[in-house]
């Protein structure tokens, strides 16, 4: 199955970008049964490409091709080799073995610059923006045609047009990238990639921090590019995105190309079982009956901060998973930070088990008398110290907490077991782990404290399906054991299938409190845009 994707030799065939056609009919005909038409406009082809890191094999003898005018989704668990594939095609890393052909000619891609010059433009999962430079400067950075001399201004105008189309028109060109939210940075990253006139656009988790309405606009743009003859390589962990966008789907597992087929040829369960190599019955654990009368653990009353949060009142109950939703930057993240002692001069009160408390630092919050833990949004910069070992990272939260011996491995074992943390040893640096496994370390670090109240900021962002199910199952089990969980998410399916109740934020206020049957995709979407609910669905 996998090896049938080998394409006929097309060396000598040069393809002019303008001459490409994008006929869906041709495409589907030519791809049925995995035989590739001789005249297909292959932009990049890999032949027997492998990549080894020491003893680890990230990619193993992969044959792969991307064609003009095709949206090609690449699926796989974290660590399956998708990101390695993207990095090879965009010149960030070099293959240990095998050959790369661009337009039919064998072409080494020693640097990202070499790739960009051939029209292979990648939007990286680890954002490729320079934090201390302005948006404008970032857009010009390394743009095609720029050298050590004059900077191309035209690319900024092109990028601004792209930004305007994906709700990013409000991002100031002079703003420092470090001051932008994660979602805004992703929008800039998208604009930067589109403005470079790609022939093959590589999107690695391009929309993971964006909300649904922006994602739609990005997709419209991607389709338009594809219609112009641009090839698109697309990695995402959100199935509905892949279904909506992809022409063709390739599945990777353990560094090998497992299968490649036209979108629609297989249904979700079939795709998932190919990805994980085993059948996953349900993404989400069974949801128990709602318990609105459960004992109150934590409550915030008329909480406000710095004009970014106003009159927010939320109650967390024992055994309940409470969702926080909304467009990005509507204040939901500030609620988590406020509850973890990160904000100064907050208004309103925090009441823990009936007692008003004040939190002046994360140290206060994690104190066993209070027992609040926060797993932050950006695991690479906020949750983990990448160069340090797994063990050192896990101990970090427990160090200095009364009554806990942070060095005791038994503290962490139940959670690493439940989450099936994959590593060579606990002395391995966290940076060597895949994104999903990194998140498992970040979760374990805080769960070891057995918090009464667990705050989670988008814990499944950019995480593979299998890890997601493990995290969901663990969260439900913790809730059943009595932990109150506050879950900020950008994936509305988590509100529907995992959370017991959900607060939707808009402009620093809670605009809807959804419970029970009222938690539907339509209601969530309407509330995030602050449109009054159509039906009387107040729970």
């Amino acid at each position: 199955m996998a090896r049938t994707l080998t394409t006929p030799d097309v060396s000598g065939l040069t393809v002019q970008p303008g001459a490409l056609s994008c006929s869906r009919a041709d495409f589907f005909l030519s791809n049925r049964g995995f035989t590739v038409n001789q005249t297909d406009d292959v932009i990049v082809r890999l032949e027997g490409v492998s990549k080894h890191y020491g003893a680890t094999t990230a990619l193993d003898g992969v044959d792969f091709a991307c064609k003009a005018g095709e949206i090609h989704a690449v699926l796989g668990e974290n660590g399956a080799g998708k990101s390695t594939l993207m990095k090879l095609i965009s010149g960030v890393i070099q293959p240990s073995d095998g050959r790369i052909f661009v337009d039919g000619e064998e072409t080494p891609l020693p640097t990202p610059r070499a790739a960009v010059e051939r029209g292979l433009v990648c939007m990286f999962q680890e954002l490729s923006l320079v934090p201390d430079l302005s948006v404008r400067e970032n857009l010009m950075l390394g743009a095609p045609g720029s050298g050590l001399g004059r900077l191309p201004g035209a690319i900024v105008r092109r990028a601004q047009e792209v930004l305007a189309q994906i709700d990013g028109g409000g991002i100031g060109m002079g703003a420092r990238v470090a001051d932008l939210s994660l979602a805004e940075r992703q929008q800039v990253e998208i604009a930067k990639a589109f403005a470079r006139n790609p022939r093959l656009l590589i999107l690695d988790e391009a929309t993971s921090a964006l909300n649904a309405s922006v994602v739609d606009k990005v997709f419209t743009l991607i389709r338009a590019e594809c219609a112009r003859g641009v090839g698109v390589l697309f990695i995402s962990h959100r199935f509905h995105e892949i279904e909506a966008l992809a022409d063709r789907i390739s599945i990777f597992r353990n560094g090998a190309l497992v299968d490649s087929f036209a979108n629609g040829a297989h249904d979700y369960p079939a795709i998932i079982s190919r990805m994980v190599g085993q059948k996953i019955t349900d993404l989400f654990p069974a949801k128990p009956r709602a318990r609105p009368e459960a004992q109150e653990v934590l409550r915030i009353d008329d909480f406000g901060w710095n004009g970014e949060l106003t009159d927010v009142s939320i109650t967390l109950r024992k055994g309940c998973i409470t969702g926080l939703g909304g467009l990005d930057g509507q204040g939901q993240a500030a609620v988590l930070q406020g509850l973890f002692g990160l904000l100064k001069k907050t208004e309103g009160g925090i009441v823990l088990a009936g007692q008003p408390i004040t939190l002046n630092s994360p140290g206060d919050a994690k104190n066993p008398d209070i027992g609040i833990a926060l797993v932050p949004e950006d695991r690479k910069t906020e949750a983990l110290i990448l160069q340090q070992s797994i063990a050192a990272n896990m101990e970090l939260a427990a160090v200095g907490v009364r009554g806990i011996n942070a060095e005791d491995p038994a503290l962490y074992q139940p959670y690493t077991d439940a989450l099936e943390l994959k590593c060579e040893s606990l002395d391995q640096p966290v940076s060597q782990l895949s994104g999903g496994n990194q998140q498992k370390v970040a979760l374990t670090k805080w769960l070891a404290l057995e918090p009464r109240c667990l705050l989670l900021a988008d814990p499944t962002r950019g995480i593979d399906v299998k890890t997601k199910t493990q995290i969901y199952a663990l969260l439900r089990r913790l809730a059943d054991q009595g932990t109150a969980i506050l879950l900020l998410s950008t994936d509305y399916e988590e509100f529907i299938h995992l959370c017991d109740e959900t607060h939707i934020f808009y402009d620093g206020r809670v605009v809807r409190h959804l419970t029970g049957d009222a938690v539907t995709a339509e209601n969530i979407l309407a509330a995030t845009l602050n449109i009054p609910a159509q039906q009387a669905a107040h729970g």
């Binding site: 430079l133 390394g142 050590l148 901060w305």
Partner: protein, 321 residues
Amino acid sequence: MADLLRANRREAIALAVLLALLTVYLVTHPRGMSTYVMTIWANQCLILALAAIAQFFAVIVRGIDLSVGAVMALTNTVASYVLAGSGIGLAGGVVLVLLVGLACGLVNGILVVYGRIQPIVVTLATASVFVGLALLLRPTPGGQINYDFADAMTLDVLGVPTALIITALVIFGFWMPLRRTGLGLGLYAIGSSEQAAFQSGIQVPVIRMASFALGGLFAGLAGLYFSFVTTTGDAGIAPNFTLNAIAAVVLGGVALRGGVGSLIGAVAGAFILKTIGALMFFSGLPPLAQPFVEGLILAAAIAIGGADILRVRNRLEVFGR
């Protein structure tokens, strides 16, 4: 205007501090403000400013250059041999001195980029080599510089100290245009996030080499200007200038972690540092108490730059600074 100030907050603070100190200096100076006083002051400031610029080019790409003073010593001793003549010989001597500085910078750059050794280690080693060469050239201070030429570079033009004109030339004729080029942008990109710069298609090795080469060139300029001011060659000046150059870039708001700050800030920092020293000289304080007070003023000047941290309402933002 407000936006411009906010974007260049660090430079604005440094300039404000400098103006305040300069005012105090001129008011307390027994001879008051005159071309003579200003010229002496500006000459001292410019030597350190050029050294600070050399340091700036290392720091901006997330490095540090411990050989700035050593390159100055080497170029100064070379200058004391080749700048005694006149006409073509003198011009050739100036070019030779600057080429020596550039070569020193290139050696640092090659070792850092292709040797893949940390800048602090590389420049610690090369600093010894450069000072060693300088000592071989001039075991004791001596030599001479063409007095007419030295005067032309260190006095004034129509009442404006030449040193200030050179400073303006460096800022407006060199730095402002450079900042708008791919090289200028690349310097910041590499210092701020080397990985992001590489993935954006920046030629990281070339730019890092260029940065160290520019650093060497400016250290050479500092050595050259030092020669004009002292009209002699001295191999023993290195340690003082290296440390002061680092202090100057920090004072001027250049972050030692790289990617933040500007050449203007580094220049302002150098001017501040020298002005504080000059203030002490005329302050009437007992000489033994002067280092103590000088340190206090230095600490206060740095604190002003960091004062807005008190206004931060999200504790996480403290770490981004």
